[in-house]
Structures are given as C-alpha cells and as structure tokens.
C-alpha cells in the first residue's frame, strides 16, 4: 500500500517537470513580445529593452526556464503584464469560482450519471435503458458552447427561470454546472451501465438472487460495490475534462474564474499569468489522478496487497 502511493508520488515529479517544460516552451514558441505588452503601445524601443532585461528575457531560454522554475517553487510567480498585480493574487482570486463550478458540475454528473447508468443496467432493453442511452449519446456529442447557449435560450430567455450570466448565487450556478457536467454525466452513465451489466451477470449474483436476497441488496450492495472501480477511474479522468471545460463554460456564461483568466491572458499575451494558471490546472489534474490511485488501493484489495 505504502509502496504503491510512494511510487505514484515519485512518478508525479517527472510528470510535473514535463508539464512545466511544455507550458514554458509553448509560450516561448508563439510569436509576440511579453515586454512589449508590459511596456504598452506607446513605449519606446529603449523602454521595451529595459523591461526585457528586467524580466530576464534577454537571457538564453534554458536560463529563463531554470529561473522560472526556481521562482515557481517559491510561489513567486511575478506580476501580471496587464493588471500589474501579483500573479499569485490574480490566480488565487479566481480559484474559488472555478472550484465551485467544477464541484457542482461533478456532483451533478456523478449523481445523475450513476442514477441513469444503474437504472439502465437493471432495466436492460426497457424504455429506461433506451432513454438513458440516448441521453448519454446526446450528452457526449453536444459541444459545451452550443449547449450553454441553448440552455440560456430555454431557461433564461424562454422560461425566465434562471439568470443567464454572472456568479454568486445558487441560481447562477445551475446552468453552467449543467452545461459543464453534461458530457461527464453521459460518460459516467455509460460506464456505470456497462460495468453494472457485467457485474450483474456474474454467478455469485445469480446465486444471491436464487437465495432470495432482495433486488435492492443484490444491485446496490453486491453489484454496485464491484462495479464502482471502473467508474471511479472514469470519474477521476472526468475531473480533468471538467477543469478544461471551465475555460469555455466560464466564457459563455461570463463567470469569473481560472478558465476565463487563461482566455483573457492568452488574448493579451500575459505570459506570467498563462504559465502559472496552466501550471495550477496541471498540478490539480495530477493531484486528482494521484487521489484516484490512492482510492483504488482502498477499494480494491488486489492493489492494496500487491
């Protein structure tokens, strides 16, 4: 068990380094000049050069990378070229709304996805199954952007039930969470259905039914428990999808958050913010995957005692 977790933790180090190289490298490859952005449009060439030296942009790329990594480890992320405020502040202030959105979307996806998947598997080939499978197929196929606008048209413009944009109230969270969570919900539903179907056909469940165990106990206690491991894998992977999905969802619904900060910063070529925000998302993704791995160990004795 300990070895398993320690191994996973050790693996996270090269992954993080790899991510940092990619994030740093990509922003170096795209054209444009961070010093020019910071200096403003009316700056003289000398002003831009002074800022370039101040930021260390005149040094070789590998030196810039090592220095950036050093600052990153001390959480000294520099200042935003656009707002001139510490990047740590810019990012920290955007994490709560994004976390709120991702958590709500995940809660919806897990709750509805599991319910749909389990119902479809226990009523195979019924109208429930067909409906759930159809809903899952539609959920997977719909782009976030389009779904968000459609939900706005129905619930905000047509029915006037929910506000279309903004953040801060429960009502303002419903449409974005539904939009962001729909694809994950569909994937979780499909995974839950197939995992449950496989488990429900096992001999020990047939025996349980033959012994007169109630249907609820058969499905939830004996069936669902064994089906949960592949579902946890999918849920873990979906969190990564949800984090990347916040970029679009926050833009469509005009919500403050990390995703929108990244979009705005890319547009204005605010390199320090983009690099740090992408690193935060990557670290979150790695940590979530680590947590899923640890969870396996609890759920599956075969891993725990390996």
């Amino acid at each position: 068990m300990f070895r398993h977790i320690a191994g996973r933790l050790l693996w996270a180090v090269p992954v993080l380094l790899g991510v940092s190289v990619i994030v740093f490298g990509l922003l170096k490859l795209i054209p444009g000049d961070a010093a020019q952005v910071m200096a403003g449009t009316d700056a003289t060439a000398a002003d831009v050069e002074a800022i370039r030296q101040q930021l260390g942009l005149d040094r070789p790329v590998y030196v810039q990378y090592v220095r950036w990594l050093g600052r990153l480890s001390r959480l000294d992320l520099g200042r935003s070229a656009v707002t001139h405020r510490p990047v740590v502040y810019e990012i920290a202030s955007r994490i709560p709304p994004t976390a709120e959105l991702a958590a709500a979307a995940m809660a919806l996806a897990v709750a509805l996805g599991l319910a749909m998947g389990v119902a479809a598997s226990t009523h195979q080939h019924s109208i429930w199954d067909v409906t759930a499978s159809l809903a899952a197929a539609v959920g997977v196929s719909m782009p976030i952007f389009w779904l968000g606008l459609m939900l706005m048209m129905i619930f905000s413009v047509g029915l006037r039930w929910l506000p279309s944009t903004g953040a801060g109230t429960f009502a303002q969270l419903v449409l974005p969470a539904l939009t962001l969570g729909s694809t994950s919900m569909a994937i979780i539903a499909r995974q839950a259905r197939s995992a449950m179907l496989e488990v429900l056909q096992q001999d020990y469940l047939r025996t349980a039914r033959a012994k007169g165990v109630t249907r609820w106990v058969v499905v939830m206690r004996h069936g669902f428990r064994n089906a949960v491991i592949p579902i946890v894998t999918v849920v873990g992977l979906q969190l990564g999808y949800l984090l990347s999905g916040t970029v679009l969802t926050e833009t469509v619904f005009a919500r403050p958050g990390l995703g929108r900060l990244i979009v705005d910063s890319i547009r204005s070529r605010d390199v320090a913010v983009v690099q740090s925000a992408v690193m935060v998302l990557s670290v979150t993704f790695i940590v979530v995957n680590l947590a899923v791995d640890v969870l396996y160990a609890y759920l599956d004795p075969r891993i725990r005692f390996d």
């Binding site: 054209p31 403003g40 001139h84 897990v110 709750a111 029915l159 009502a171 759920l299």
Partner: protein, 528 residues
C-alpha cells in the same frame, strides 16, 4: 490516524451521492428556482443600471484603462471637456477654454464647487496631479505619447489651469476630451499610488463600490454630482465576452444597455418587444493596408484597380448585413474636417485595363494577412475580396495569423514585403490624428508603427503640417480638404467600409448616449 474501511467509504460515498442527487433534484424544481431567481433579482436590481460589453477592464485608472470598457470609467470620472454624440466637445469640469501665446498656452476655467468622491475638492491642483500621473514613467499609461507636448501645467488659482505646449496644437482641447484625460483625485493617487486602478476616485455621477474581476464593476450614486442627477442608485458594468450571451442578457433584461451586438442577431432583435437596437456610425474604418514602396503595389494604377475590382456595396449588403457604410473618403466620415469624394466605382473591366496599363495584364500575386475574428465577418470580407480580385486576374493568398504576428508584419520594413497587404480596422476621434498616422510620410514608414505602408506624398505632408499649425478652425478646412483630395487620388489603402456601432437598450431606459467611438456616457440615467 483512523483507517477508513472500504465498507465505510462506500457507505459514505453512497450517502453523499444521494444527498447531492436530492439537492440537484430540488434544484430542478422550477418553483424553487423561480423564487431563488426572484430573490437574487430583487436585490437592488430595480435601482441598478446595468451595462454589458465584451471586455474586462485591465485597470480603472483612466490613464491606464483605455480599452473598450469606457462605460464604467465614464460613470466614475469626468474630464475637463467631453464629447457629445455629434462629435463636438462640450464643457464638463472646465466651463470654458481659450488659447494664447501663438497656440502654445491653453487656459481652462474650472467648475467651482465640485468634489471628488473621497471629499477632496476639485481644483487646478487635481488637473496638474492628473497630468503628472500620466507623464510619470511608472504609470503604464497607454497613451502617454499623446501628452508629451505638455511642457508645463500652471495653476494661477484654484479655478484656473494653464497648459504650456510645444509644439502648439489646435487640437489640444480634443486631447483633453480623451478617455485617458479624465481627472483623478490627487488625494487618492497619493494614498493608493500605482494601485489607484483598483481604488478609482473621480468626480463622476457614480462612486466606485467594488470590482469582482471577470464578473462586474459596480458604483453607487454620487448624490452630490454637479451634472444631471440619475434616477438609479447603482451603476454596474458587466463584461460578457461571448456576443451571443450579450444578446441573451439584453433579451432577459438582465442588462439595460448592451454594447457591441453581433450583426447576425440585429434583425431578430428588432422584432423583440421591450427593447430597441441601434446601428450608429462608428469612428472606425475597415481597410487593407498595402506595403507600397515596391512594385506591384507601388503603382497608383494598381491600387486604384484593386479598389475598383471590389463590389463593396455587395459586401456591405451580403456579409455585413447592411451594418456598415460605404467609404468614399480617406478620412472618417462624421469627424470634423473629413471630406467625401467621388466614389471609386465597381468596374472590373476598367480594373483589368488599369492593371494591363501598369504592366500586370497577366495578373499578379498578392498576400493578405489577417487575424480572423477581431470583428464580425472579417474573414468572409477578405475572402470576398480575394474572389473579386481573382475575377480581374489577381491571385491572392489569405494568410491567417494571431494579432501579435500580424502587427510584427505590418510594422516591418515595407521594402521587405512587396505585394503584402494587412487587414486592419482603424479608429480615430479627430481628423488630424487619423490623417497624420495613416498618410504622413513621417508616420507611415517608422519602425514599430502599426500602419507602416511606406506611403508618402510630399504635397500631402506639407498640407498636413500647415493645417496643424492653424488655430482658426474654418481656415483649416480647405487645407484638410485639399490634402484628402490628393490622398484619395493616390488610393494608398484598399478602402472597404465604415463600421457601425451595434447596440441595444431596454425600453424605458434613458439619460445616456453612445458616442461614435462606441463609448457609453451616462448623463442622468433613468429606468422605468
């Protein structure tokens, strides 16, 4: 540490999942949601005037925050003078102004009895502090270059301020009407320093309340405002980047005024009850900027032929859905001193003849660089141009790139990119600024300048220098006309059209204007 058993973990997971499912189920009950919305909406919504546009402010310091989010800056700050919707300047914190000393001295009389939101009295020292703040190199003022002509700011008394400029400039009051010249509280500048942009204090009709990044900036009514009083208690600016979502908030009434609407929705919005949409001429033109220091674009006949080969009316009607105006001027129609000339007709046959006469009867190869998506329909317009040019034998390649790369190209040496054109839009609030930067040879081939076409006409240079030193406005007009006539003959750009501002307002809202610059200016806001 207590070890969690598998069974416990599964139980807890199931219980939590059920709780979330219940909560989500409850969330789907319309009646509950309706009451939630009603509660959320009732918190001051009736008393709040909401304006939505697409851009998050980078700063609320007028010197720094010069992007398309001026609504909130205009709600909190006043300038010495301000633009009206007819493109004229009118008094604001200054009641009158005169020039003397051969145009080197501009004296403004200031409005007495005005106070900043923090209680600081407004006077000449505030104007002096504002200019010093803009010129301070530690302030990231985006338009500092425009203020470098100010050599001194004198404060002979509390209600008089005197600017000494070099060179003399007849358009100095227009500079003072710029959004970046709004007057800021000297006390707040001292208190907050470079963080003033997060704690803005002005004299405007609304006083800063809070800024939730990417969500809203709000300001409360300044009951002691010197200008027309408002009938609402709060002003809220809501940045919504997605244009379709801006349409939604206009329809639902979540916003009172929505700026920068997409042309594709205008027809549908016209038939919507409870709101009105407007298409008003903008101070912005769409054009292609040819690098013209070398053949083929060096030849005026080629540039004329390229203009003549495009059916601009069809583009306006078909792609822009009528939300653009034909452009028959090297200036910007609507600006004082801009003149219209004989339209260059759509005539592919004559275009072919002109190209043949210039030695390009067998066609030529051009490249059009563009950053797609900067305004609605930009790429389709350029593709249409490509098609029209193909019709007269001109082969063109459309190259899409990000804006930073585009500007690197457009500001590079025109000698190094013969046959290249850059798709850009240009916005100006006064004619001299526009003509100088687009057509004066001092400006068109300077490293780093965005519009480095290499165009130059010594006669045009002479006329522009002449009109810029004249302080009698009517006398400037014939010179401006002559300069523009010469430019129009040279056809240094591929003129596409003048843009329009597309915006909408809920019924019952009044007390504001949307300027040709696209800026929202409150002036006694009301919503009924």
């Amino acid at each position: 540490m207590k070890r969690i058993r598998r069974r416990e973990l599964l139980k807890q997971t199931a219980a939590r999942t059920a709780a979330v499912a219940l909560a989500a189920g409850a969330g789907a009950v319309p009646s509950i949601l309706r009451s939630t919305v009603a509660r959320a909406a009732s918190v001051g919504r009736e008393a709040t005037f909401v304006v939505a546009d697409g851009t998050e402010p980078n700063s609320l310091d007028p010197a720094v925050g010069t992007g398309p989010f001026q609504a909130i800056i205009n709600a909190m700050f006043d300038g010495l003078v301000q633009w009206n919707e007819k493109g004229q300047i009118q008094p604001a914190l200054a009641t009158s102004w005169t020039s003397s000393g051969g145009g080197r001295i501009w004296t403004f009389s200031l409005r007495p009895g005005v106070r900043f939101h923090d209680g600081t009295p407004f006077g000449s020292d505030a104007v002096k502090a504002t200019i010093a703040h803009i010129l301070d190199l530690s302030t990231p003022a985006t338009r500092r270059g425009n203020y470098l002509l100010i050599k001194d700011v004198l404060t002979p008394d509390e209600h008089t301020v005197r600017f000494v400029t070099d060179p003399p400039n007849p358009d100095f009051p227009l500079l003072m009407a710029d959004g970046s010249a709004k007057i800021v509280s000297p006390a707040a500048l001292k208190t907050y320093g470079q963080d003033f942009g997060r704690h803005p204090v002005g004299t405007g009709p609304f006083a800063f309340e809070e800024w939730v990044p990417n969500d809203h900036v709000s300001a409360s009514l300044n009951t002691a405002y010197w200008g027309p009083g408002s009938g609402v208690r709060r002003f809220l600016y809501h940045p919504i980047p997605e244009s379709a979502a801006r349409v939604v908030v206009l329809k639902t009434g979540e916003a009172d005024v929505v700026l920068d609407l997409p042309p594709t929705d205008m027809d549908a919005l016209r038939h919507e009850s409870g709101l009105a949409v407007y298409a008003t001429p903008a101070q912005t033109i769409a054009e292609l900027e040819p690098a013209q220091t070398k053949p083929p674009l060096k030849d005026v006949r080629v540039r004329r032929a390229l203009n003549m080969a495009i059916d601009k009316d069809a583009i306006i009607k078909g792609i822009m859905r009528g939300f653009a105006k034909p452009l028959h001027s090297p200036g910007i129609p609507g600006l004082w001193g801009s003149f219209d000339f004989a339209p260059v007709p759509y005539d592919p046959n004559q275009a072919r003849q002109l190209l043949a006469a210039a030695g390009f009867g067998g066609g030529m190869d051009l490249t059009i660089n563009i950053t797609a998506g900067r305004w609605a329909g930009d790429l389709q317009v350029v593709q249409a141009v490509q098609g029209y040019w193909a019709n007269v034998g001109v082969r063109s390649t459309v190259r899409q790139m990000d804006f930073a790369t585009l500007l690197v190209g457009s500001s590079s040496d025109p000698d190094a990119r013969p046959g290249a054109l850059t798709s850009l839009v240009k916005s100006s609030s006064y004619i001299d600024y526009h003509l100088y930067r687009m057509y004066d040879s001092e400006a068109t081939n300077v490293p780093g300048t965005q519009q480095r076409t290499g165009y130059g006409n010594p006669e045009v240079d002479k006329l522009l220098a002449q009109e810029r030193s004249m302080f009698d406005q009517p006398q400037r007009l014939p010179i401006l006309k002559r300069a523009q006539q010469l430019i129009w003959q040279d056809q240094p750009l591929i003129y596409l059209f003048q843009m329009v501002n597309l915006w909408g307002a809920r019924a019952g809202t009044k007390g504001f204007v949307v300027l040709p610059s696209g800026d929202f200016v409150p002036g006694g806001l009301r919503r009924t």
